[in-house]
């Protein structure tokens, strides 16, 4: 199915005016939300996701606990108005379950679950708007929400989507582009320089794949910089009001508390 709109025109611009390797605007809001221990409202262009993290806390069902690590529970809800065509997806929808499983598998090795045996970490993802790159937005949002909740992780996880239009690789695809060209989503741990997730549902030539993977890695480190800055900015604003007492206090821990 051909689209009426050119994916990449002769001058090297994409349908929304971006260059091939240009990312969309990134918006991060880390302020507290509801009762969550940590939350993040993140948008890549028009794709917007709210992630809330609860825990580590007592597992709701005892059968879901492990004696040596925390259980990670990911639930994804997609607002039915998030896409161009209204689509009601129920909780049991196969695609959503698979989507949640992908995110869980991405974060399981990164979160230091062994510190919290028998606990549960709930990650609730609410997709509010979709314009391509839903998975990348969910992963980046989850990283930020987990960090915001103070849950130990070995590294950031930064995800980005990429695709190839004939032979030209492109990054951070919109829905329009996702519908038209083969695309992959890559999640990287920028510090450890490891790739933790690659998903692809379309066919892609091996040579192109390597090219796009390298590009995605570079883009991941750029996203890392932005996300880190967001985290640090928020922390600075919190710590500044908390004052220097926070630093001094640790030494007094072993002091007997007199009731």
């Amino acid at each position: 199915m051909g689209s009426r709109i050119e994916i990449l025109n002769e001058a090297g611009f994409r349908s929304d005016g971006r260059r091939q390797h240009e990312l969309r605007d990134l918006n991060i809001d880390l302020s507290r939300h509801g009762e969550a221990d940590g939350s993040a409202l993140i948008s890549h262009g028009l794709t917007q996701v709210l992630v809330s993290v609860h825990g580590p806390r007592e597992a709701k069902m005892r059968s879901h606990t492990f004696h040596d690590r925390a259980n990670i529970n990911v639930e994804v809800t997609v607002a039915s108005f998030s896409t161009g065509e209204r689509r009601k997806r129920l909780r049991g929808d196969k695609r959503i379950l698979e989507f949640a499983a992908t995110i869980k598998a991405t974060f399981e090795p990164v979160i230091r679950t062994s510190l919290y045996p028998r606990s549960q970490i709930d990650i609730y993802i609410q997709v509010l708007q979709q314009d391509g790159g839903t998975l990348q937005t969910c992963i980046n949002g989850t990283t930020l929400a987990l960090i915001n909740a103070g849950i130990p992780m070995t590294d950031f996880v930064c995800a980005i989507s990429g695709g190839v239009h004939s032979t030209s690789p492109m990054l951070d695809l919109t829905t329009l582009e996702e519908n038209d060209i083969p695309h992959v989503t890559v999640a990287v741990m920028p510090k450890a320089k490891k790739v933790v997730l690659v998903t692809m549902e379309t066919r892609l030539h091996v040579d192109r794949f390597e090219e796009i993977l390298n590009l995605a890695r570079d883009a991941g480190s750029i996203l890392h910089r932005e996300m880190k800055e967001a985290v640090l900015n928020r922390s600075i604003s919190l710590v500044s009001t908390a004052g220097p007492a926070q630093l001094r206090e640790k030494g007094e821990d072993d002091m007997n508390v007199d009731y």
Partner: protein, 314 residues
């Protein structure tokens, strides 16, 4: 009465910039690594290398990979001799033995209660760790097991001390002191646990006839002041009073003082200001000087003014 406001266009403590990305990037990395080992009062975040593991030992909030000590949480770097830790800016309550906590009964199980204490697992309160009616030294009876709900039932709030840890990391509580036990005559305020520091005493009394229990897990109990005399003496242990669900008579001025203190705590917590006895007292006096209604404390500008006033005095 109803009034509408707008969502702030730019949340104050949020990072919101609109940026364009180009193909070529500049390499302006933020430099957090200190060559001479970890320095204090610096912020770090997961994945940042702090120091070499040959010279330092890893503490909480860090892990070792490839001979490097790396942060696993966002927070301030601290160093005590050779031990490097990262204290998280925000996290759930991390219990230590001797801590004072306020918890809510989540479940009644055979010979024990499970207590929600804002930690990574529910705390455990054993039937053997509470004072039973009829004297402290009394033996536990089978009938006690059958009437556990007469002591504590689901939803009840209690104040207790962390006694020990189980093998799986769950904390065990005890209420074997007259200061501990069921909570009545007031309301609960929940704040981030990092805002409650270890103090000389976590039982505060404000001159306005209000008691505050600043529990380390961030559950703060604000209630009517109970005179000390009524509590003293082991013999004076009155099971009926200790496990009662009945509130005392609370007059209108005490009630509004409790509401005022609760609102003050909310304001300070929303500005992420650690709670101390002096700060709470100053804040209370400031609002009384303003001669303001309790509900004016809900307004944003009033809250900001309060914070500005008490923080400048510090």
């Amino acid at each position: 009465m109803i009034s509408f406001t707008s969502f702030p266009t730019q949340p104050e403590d949020a990072y919101r910039t609109v940026r364009r990305y180009n193909d070529d990037e500049d390499d302006a990395m933020m430099d957090l690594d200190d060559e001479n080992g970890p320095s204090s009062s610096k912020l770090t975040c997961p994945g940042e290398t702090l120091t070499s593991s040959h010279d330092y030992m890893r503490g909480h909030g860090t892990y070792v990979d490839n001979d490097e000590v790396i942060a696993s949480v966002t927070g301030t770097i601290e160093r005590v001799n050779r031990l490097v830790t990262v204290r998280p800016v925000n996290s759930r309550y991390n219990p230590e033995i001797g801590d004072l906590v306020v918890g809510r009964i989540a479940e009644v199980q055979p010979r024990r209660w499970k207590v929600d204490a804002n930690s990574r697992q529910d705390a455990i309160l054993m039937l053997s760790s509470v004072n039973l009616p009829g004297g402290v030294q009394r033996r536990k009876l089978e009938s006690d097991e059958l009437q556990m709900r007469t002591f504590f039932e689901e939803g009840d709030l209690l104040v207790a001390e962390v006694q020990a840890f189980f093998a799986d990391g769950a904390m065990s509580l005890h209420t074997r002191s007259l200061k501990y036990g069921k909570l009545r005559n007031g309301q609960l305020v929940i704040v981030p646990p990092v805002l409650v520091r270890r103090l000389k005493s976590h039982f505060l009394t404000l001159p306005c006839n209000v008691d505050i229990i600043l529990a380390l897990n961030g559950y703060i109990w604000v209630s009517k002041h109970i005179k000390q005399i009524e509590q003293e003496g082991e013999l004076g242990f009155d099971a009926e009073a200790v496990y009662s669900n009945q509130n005392d008579r609370i007059d209108s001025s005490t009630r509004s003082a409790i509401a005022r203190v609760a609102n003050i705590i909310q304001i300070l917590a929303s500005h992420f200001i650690p709670l101390t006895d002096t700060l709470l007292l100053e804040a209370y006096e400031w609002t009384m000087e303003q001669d303001s209604d309790v509900k004016t404390l809900l307004q944003e500008d009033y809250g900001d003014a309060l914070v500005a006033a008490v923080v400048s005095k510090e």
